[in-house]
Symmetry: C2
């Protein structure tokens, strides 16, 4: 069963088609799995083979083109009619001779679209260089236009139903983070903490369960806290370790991410001092959030605080997020950073993650929130502090 | 700390360079995260931004090029010298103006490689059409050659140390599958079973913990068993449900996948009959496995059995697998299917997954194994049968 009403899917398609018209494209080929889900409802771990959603300007419903064995999954999860579910044969899987995009090219030729302006997501994860090459050779009369992020931009303002899922994800991330902060202790193995986090993320609450987050728990320890994308090992926590935990709750593919840092005593004053700066900077940035404000102004509020303490941060302060699939829960559109002119409107949703990674340690303390009519609403509810044990 | 000896990494690079010479390429750009790990040891959930390993024919060590904040992770996990770790600035992240492949192009020009034959992985997951476009425009004098699967083919025969990790992964997948078969029951929520599976996969045993598998537990239920890549929901299991569970144990990025099917009584004779055919067919195929045999012969042994019962299977019977990252644990090289001429040699490793998906139900019962001197060794140890409760 699709998660949203047909009306909501059609509204999303309408907005997408408006953007298509602005770019002068008649055909849009969507390969980003989050965008495929957003416009059709399709959900499944099938993005490891090539698949596409075809949006035609003059047809109300898109076409799902995917692997034959996934067509039943499309029938169950997408709102579109069965006649719009177009499976390609299994002999296109990991084959030298036949590529799924050859099939897509033939489909478009059959639809008399071989000579049109066709939008493709050139920098989307699963749209490989080979996909472009095969489309270009199969459709020599077409003009290809880069439509990367076209649908991502439509996704940036959430509906009430989407916000409801993100609030639930906020409940789950709070629960999972508390489990993490409670379980990390001297002598405990990192993998045992990771296992408990997963259990809390997925089992959820008696009212609703959790979906798999697009990123696994990131939990670097000790010197590795200077490397934000490290996962876990079998090692045991030791006295004096700092541990960064970044993870998300996920409900029906909607995320609320959160990061906290914990120190096992004895604590280095470097870490506690840096944590104070991070919290003060983030609170100043959050206070700047309201409709009408530009994202660069939010970043500026943060920067003013940390510069007063002699710190700098080269990487961005946060990013728009929500619906997604591995390998990322970010939407790749608006970033909380210098130069980003995006003007905040209600129901934009962000992960503000003022991670500071110095040479041999780092601190991350973050919040996920939506923009409200006059400020912001946090999704999670975990003490905004350095945890010390 | 790198997982393997420097000697093993250098051997892998030597074999890679032999393949490069056969293709007449001087420079190989690796973006598949499993291939990056295989040739350097680099491990981190950073493949959601562009990153590359550059192999130059005349230099012993490759260069890691990645995001600035991941350079510390590379220093910790890769065997290469610090001078071979080349970070690109944060302003290249999700920017319209600067793409990480612009940086790679400049790097190659500085190395006087701008006019060479350069191998790229055109159909690797994270090598987007935009990556190719930016490299081509940054290096107008270079000739680009498709080197997709070049390193994957080097990976196909495992070392003793790799096999040791896959045996450990086999212990974990057996444990996780038993947890799944024990927990699924009428009235239980799917998400609670998924949570227990995760806990077993990650917590592991007292001797070793688990890493995150490249694919989440797939566990379609009821009519959805006809759709193999469905995950889980909050729904409760009901009498008469069939449930397919496909999951992997993972140790240090090495996988052993496994599938089993369970039916909650009352049982449909359609399912029990199909399960018997699947087991008999798989056993016939396994009996055909030994060095010197071609993969198509293994598939033929399976096909003979199922055709006798009036069944057909369009999709392949299995695939080579081992080291990997999301979204797939398969290696995309050898497949157990008609026409695959790959000749088996010891320490090739496969997931044989004779999934049969009919219109409204399906059965999957699988095994992971390595080829031995005279047959095969299974990685998992779970009864090869339809589970009935």
């Amino acid at each position: 069963m699709p998660l949203f009403s047909t009306y909501e899917y059609l509204q999303r398609l309408e907005k997408t088609k408006e953007s298509m018209e602005m770019l002068g494209i008649d055909v849009l080929l969507i390969t980003d799995p989050a965008n495929m889900n957003y416009l059709s409802g399709y959900d499944g771990w099938s993005f490891y083979v090539h698949q596409t959603l075809v949006v035609l300007l003059e047809e109300e419903q898109p076409y799902w083109i995917g692997r034959a064995q996934d067509a039943n999954g499309a029938k169950h999860t997408a709102f579109i009619d069965t006649s719009h579910i177009v499976p390609y044969p299994e002999d296109h899987i990991h084959s030298d001779a036949r590529h799924p995009m050859d099939f897509v090219a033939s489909f478009l030729k059959d639809k008399q679209k071989g000579n049109r302006r066709i939008g493709i997501e050139k920098d989307a994860y699963y749209f490989t260089a080979k996909c472009a090459e095969r489309l270009e050779s199969g459709l020599p009369d077409a003009t290809f236009v880069d439509a990367t992020l076209l649908v991502n931009r439509v996704r940036i303002v959430k509906s009430e139903q989407e916000i409801a899922y993100m609030r639930q994800a906020g409940v789950l991330v709070s629960q999972a983070m508390r489990v993490a902060m409670d379980s990390i202790a001297v002598g405990v193995r990192e993998c045992d903490v990771a296992a408990k986090i997963y259990h809390a993320q997925i089992s959820g609450t008696p009212q609703f369960g959790g979906d798999y987050p697009a990123i696994v728990p990131l939990m670097p320890r000790g010197e590795m806290t200077s490397a934000p994308h490290i996962t876990w090992s079998d090692d045991r926590y030791r006295e004096g370790d700092a541990v960064i935990v970044e993870l998300a709750g996920c409900v029906r593919r909607y995320h609320s991410p959160l990061a906290r840092t914990l120190v096992l005593s004895p604590t280095s004053p470097n870490v506690t001092d840096l944590a104070k700066v991070v919290v003060e900077g983030m609170e100043s940035a959050l206070a700047a959030v309201k409709p009408g404000v530009r994202l660069e102004e939010v970043e500026q509020a943060w920067r003013k605080v940390i510069e007063r303490y002699g710190f700098q941060k080269e990487s961005r302060l946060g990013y728009s997020m929500g619906l997604n699939y591995p390998p990322d829960w970010g939407e790749h559109t608006a970033s909380i950073r210098r130069g980003d002119q995006t003007v905040l409107v209600p129901n934009m949703t962000f992960h503000m993650i003022p991670g500071m990674w110095l040479d041999d340690f780092g601190v991350e303390i973050s919040e996920s929130f939506r923009v409200t009519e006059n400020g912001y609403e946090l999704f999670a509810d975990v003490e905004r502090q350095l945890f010390i044990k």
